[in-house]
């Protein structure tokens, strides 16, 4: 069986970036230091994303910033990050990480995005991801109107003019017509769509103290609860645009990954799965994908991309 598994290829080409397998560390999970990125790559990730970086340093929201419940996770970390200058010194020699490294950049206005993108342009990142979709940080994402087709177009075309790196635009599941945002990003020159960011926000109240648990009171919902929504978003986006989609939301097993790829994802992001299955979730998901492909008569992961469509 192992001999047969060895003949199965998981490698994918994402915007001319070669990934040894389609699993990608999602932004905001463990991507705080170079050493952690390396450790995630050593645990089998096909690519890794850094925690989102802004122009100035940010401490983020007060704790609790991450909690779990029966169906997933709520987080309101609040984009804590050391700022673009410190990030540049943290993330060096990225060729030695062992997997392509994706930058994630955030801003409160178009100029900030451009400045941060330029600030990280010489660091050896393989792509730049731009989340316009955080549901719980004032000044950023949905809370500052970045999630509309117009704002998406404006921000992405401004960054597009300043960098030759592939741009991944990360969008929210919270909109009624997600394809309009994806199309606006594609029109502005995005290279891929990352779908999706956390949904909500949601709230959990501790009934003994009678107070919301998260320090910011509300936070984005991720994990199992998000998966069917993420799969539907990827399915819709895949039909509507030509650029590749990176499917993110509730993936923690090989079956979940296969499902997302069948919906149309060229690669899949994993965040909450690092909690549910451990830091080696990437190698576990890869082994499970190979197993499924073998049992179902496939030898190349690319053969099932979008296969769920009529």
């Amino acid at each position: 069986m192992n001999g047969k598994m060895a003949g199965i290829s998981l490698s994918v080409n994402l915007c001319n970036i070669r990934l040894s397998n389609p699993t990608v560390l999602a932004s905001g999970i463990l991507g705080t230091t170079r050493a952690l990125l390396k450790r995630v790559a050593d645990n089998g990730a096909g690519a890794v994303t850094i925690k989102s970086v802004s122009k100035e340093q940010r401490e983020g929201h007060k704790n609790p910033t991450v909690i779990t419940y029966e169906a997933g996770m709520l987080n309101a970390v609040g984009y804590s990050n050391p700022g673009v200058d410190a990030a540049r010194s943290e993330f060096y020699n990225l060729e030695d990480i062992g997997a392509p490294v994706i930058a994630s950049i955030i801003g409160t206005c178009t100029d900030d995005f451009v400045e941060v993108a330029e600030g990280l342009s010489e660091s050896g990142f393989s792509a730049i991801e731009i989340p316009l979709s955080c549901p719980h940080t004032p000044g950023f994402g949905l809370l500052s109107g970045q999630g509309t087709p117009e704002a998406t177009y404006e921000i992405i075309s401004a960054v597009r003019r300043k960098t030759n790196l592939p741009i991944f635009v990360k969008i929210s599941p919270n909109v009624p017509e997600i394809t309009t945002i994806a199309k606006a990003a594609e029109d502005a020159g995005a290279s891929a769509i990352t779908a999706v960011n956390s949904m909500g926000p949601g709230m959990i109240i501790n009934i003994e103290s009678k107070k919301p648990v998260l320090g910011f009171k509300v936070g984005g919902v991720t994990g199992d609860a998000l998966r069917p929504i993420a799969v539907r978003c990827v399915y819709d986006i895949y039909k509507a645009i030509k650029i590749p989609v990176i499917g993110v939301g509730g993936i923690s097993t090989g079956r979940h990954a296969i499902e997302m790829i069948m919906a149309g994802a060229a690669a899949i992001g994993i965040g909450t799965g690092v909690y549910t299955r451990g830091i080696d979730v990437f190698s576990k998901v890869c082994a499970e994908m190979k197993q499924w492909l073998m049992e179902n008569g496939y030898n190349n992961i690319n053969d099932i991309v979008g296969i769920a469509h009529d």
Binding site: L30, G31, T33, L36, K62, I67, V77, P82, G83, N206
Partner: protein
């Protein structure tokens, strides 16, 4: 498991020193010395503390007053509630009775090492503080060797100075330590030099407590889940130990 705080009532409070109080509450469940819990004060914040006492189903945390959170905690009265979740992380590994061990606590690091001292038989126990009024648990551990920086009680000097002298006389096979990182790093070097095993508890800024946010990184190790207790081999592969730490924002600072 669901990672959310459970409210518990403070059933007793003990003044340990002018700046340190112990808060007792009901706690059931398994706990290894060196593990930590997250303590939540609704609408304020949530921070890590080790259990410093375990007696039946009552546990205690011993808290040094520092900034906003610990000030708010110090103002709590018997009967008030706090939220707790955990325990988290990897604690100290107990040694066989036949192993000669030494336990070293510096400052509030004593809180982390006290439950280990309860359980580890036949250990030499060293405590260091800046001055006599900051020494902790003097009645609880009567055999402790005390050091103060100013010589106001016991040995005048640091725990590392005393430990260096004692290593010359006793054949310690294992040293456990918790305290300021500069002290821990010197003990690690001393242990490397003398080929003694060691386990030390490392602090970094902790947010989630269960290994997902990456905030407490030390050279690729997550303090909250891979630590906080690390042995000599782990520490050898952690160049940040004793040198740099990342803060609440993720900025790197020198220690």
């Amino acid at each position: 498991m669901i990672e959310q705080p459970q409210m518990v009532k403070i059933c007793n409070i003990k003044d340990e020193t002018p700046n340190v109080k112990t808060f007792f509450f009901e706690f059931t469940g398994h706990y290894d010395p060196g593990q930590f819990i997250m303590v939540w004060i609704p609408l304020n914040d949530e921070k890590p503390f080790t259990l410093s006492y375990i007696n039946g189903n009552i546990a205690g945390i011993t808290v040094l007053r520092r900034g906003d959170f610990t000030k708010t905690l110090h103002a709590k009265k018997i009967g008030d509630q706090i939220g707790i979740r955990g325990p988290y992380g990897k604690g100290y590994g107990l040694s066989e009775k036949s192993v000669t061990t030494c336990i070293v606590g510096g400052g509030i690091g004593m809180a982390s090492i006290a439950c280990l001292a309860d359980r580890q038989e036949n250990a030499t126990f060293i405590q260091g503080a800046r001055t006599v009024t900051e020494l902790l648990f003097r009645h609880r551990f009567k055999e402790m060797k005390l050091c103060t920086d100013d010589g106001s009680l016991g040995y005048k000097g640091t725990t590392v100075d005393l430990l260096r002298e004692l290593i010359g006389k006793h054949n310690y096979q294992k040293i456990y330590a918790c305290g300021p990182e500069k002290m821990l790093h010197k003990i690690f070097e001393l242990c490397s030099e003398h080929h003694i095993d060691c386990e030390v508890s490392v602090e970094r800024y902790i947010k989630c407590g269960f290994g997902i946010c990456g905030q407490c990184d030390c050279s690729g190790q997550r303090i909250c889940i891979d630590g906080p207790v690390f042995n000599k081999e782990d520490l050898r592969n952690m160049p940040d130990f004793g040198k740099t730490a990342i803060t609440k924002s993720g900025s790197r600072v020198s220690l």
